[in-house]
């Protein structure tokens, strides 16, 4: 009789856990980029305007990534680049994005800019962990969360793009946190290529903070 009660109890706990966790698949929000007015406030002579916001608050991390990246050594900066110059297209290479004016070629092997996959691996997003049979439902929740977090990382990353007149490119750039100890006083720089007119230049924008 005692064994039967124990089995019923274990089964009830499993069902309750499964019921609770199956109702709570993680959902992450899209980051609302800068407004058109914010982008228009700083247009360079070449027609480029760019805004960079680092994520800082716990609430922002929870809403957009599901994990506190700063605690894991990663600085996530949302970058938006717009092209306001008529009849010109600019190519922005994601690999050229860096902190400060340091030339890409002379960067150290400790690459401060991390691709999304590296960033996801750095914060230890792996599969679920199997514990006792009672915790299988919890492991399913962990696995689900880890796949959602990793897919979100990749989807939100800033990717290389050619922006025509009136267009913009946006996304997150991931840096090693120890390289950005002076958040707020560091510029985010990237190379701009105008392939039709055989021009290229470096554009820098200071890291701001959302109001």
């Amino acid at each position: 009789m005692e064994g039967r009660k124990a089995r019923v109890f274990v089964l009830a706990v499993c069902m309750a856990t499964l019921g609770i966790t199956s109702c709570s698949t993680m959902t992450l929000k899209q980051y609302p980029g800068p407004s058109p007015q914010e982008l228009q406030s700083s247009v360079s002579d070449d027609g480029i305007s760019a805004i960079a916001y680092p994520l800082k608050s716990e609430e922002e991390f929870k809403d957009y990534f599901g994990v506190n990246l700063t605690q894991k050594g990663i600085l996530a900066v949302h970058l938006t680049v717009a092209n306001n110059k008529p009849n010109v297209s600019y190519l922005i290479r994601a690999e050229s994005i860096r902190l400060g004016q340091q030339d890409v070629i002379s960067r150290t092997t400790n690459d401060p800019s991390m691709r999304a996959t590296k960033a996801a691996n750095a914060i230890g997003i792996t599969g679920g962990v199997l514990g006792s049979p009672v915790l299988i439902a919890v492991a399913a929740q962990q696995l689900s969360n880890s796949t959602i977090i990793k897919e979100n990382f990749e989807s939100k990353e800033f990717r290389s793009k050619t922006i025509d007149t009136g267009q913009k490119a946006s996304g997150f750039v991931y840096f090693k946190s120890e390289d950005a100890s002076k958040i707020g006083s560091v510029d985010v720089c990237f190379d701009v290529i105008d392939s039709i007119n055989n021009k290229s230049f470096t554009y820098c924008t200071p890291m701001g903070s959302r109001r």
Binding site: G3, L18, T21, S22, S24, T25, S89, L91, R93, A116, T117, G127, G128, L130, A137, A140, Q141, L143, S144, T147, I148, K150, E151, N152, E154, S155, E157, R159, S160, K161, T162, D164, T165, I193, S195, I196
Partner: protein, 197 residues
């Protein structure tokens, strides 16, 4: 005596269960047929000579997941190569055949930048397959001229042990269709590509 028998029974079951865990390092392959994706060929193609560069990375592209000692793999390369070839013919008016003599002025190289799949908690929760592809048009000298990164998504219920494979096939088909339709749209609406000579 009865308690000892219970103990022996449960201990044996636990050892058996653990042995399955450690011995079950299997690889599960979700083969994908060539999905039927029709790209509408418009009359307003881009008039530049281009060669499509298919790399080994593209041929070997796949989704892969390691979980509890097992490996889950979904090869995508065959579909990506097939549809990239069709896409180039639908978008550009002059496409050099592989191995043809002379080097066209431009080379178009597709590259998979990510393949990720997210799952809900249960078989009834939503799963999403995302494929990110970078298209780079460069001069024959290698100098990049135009780059666009496009994303394709396929969503649906994750499915259970019996329906999971079919559900994954549906998501892959949807993601590939979405990816190549978005790629075609990105190329045909690009001012820079239209103005190239």
């Amino acid at each position: 005596m009865v308690r000892r028998q219970h103990f022996i029974r449960y201990a044996s079951l636990s050892v058996l269960a653990l042995s399955f865990l450690f011995m079950g390092a299997c690889t599960h392959v979700y083969q994908q047929p060539i999905h039927n994706i029709s790209l509408h060929s418009t009359g307003d193609k881009i008039n530049i000579p281009v060669r499509l560069e298919i790399t080994d990375d593209l041929r070997n592209a796949k989704w892969e997941k390691h979980y509890m000692g097992d490996t889950f793999v979904m090869p995508l390369g065959e579909n990506l190569v097939h549809h990239s070839t069709n896409l180039v013919r639908a978008v550009f008016s002059e496409v050099a055949a592989p191995g043809a003599g002379g080097e066209p002025r431009y080379v178009l190289t597709p590259k998979v930048v990510f393949v990720e799949q997210s799952f809900g908690v249960s078989a009834f929760s939503e799963a999403k397959l995302s494929i990110g592809m970078e298209w780079k048009l460069a001069k024959s000298t290698g100098e990049p001229v135009w780059v666009e990164t496009v994303r394709g998504e396929g969503t649906g219920k994750a499915g259970n042990a019996f329906t999971g494979k079919e559900k994954m096939k549906e998501r892959a088909e949807q993601a590939l269709r979405n990816l190549f339709e978005n790629s075609q749209r990105a190329m045909l609406t690009s001012n820079l590509l239209r103005n190239l000579k």
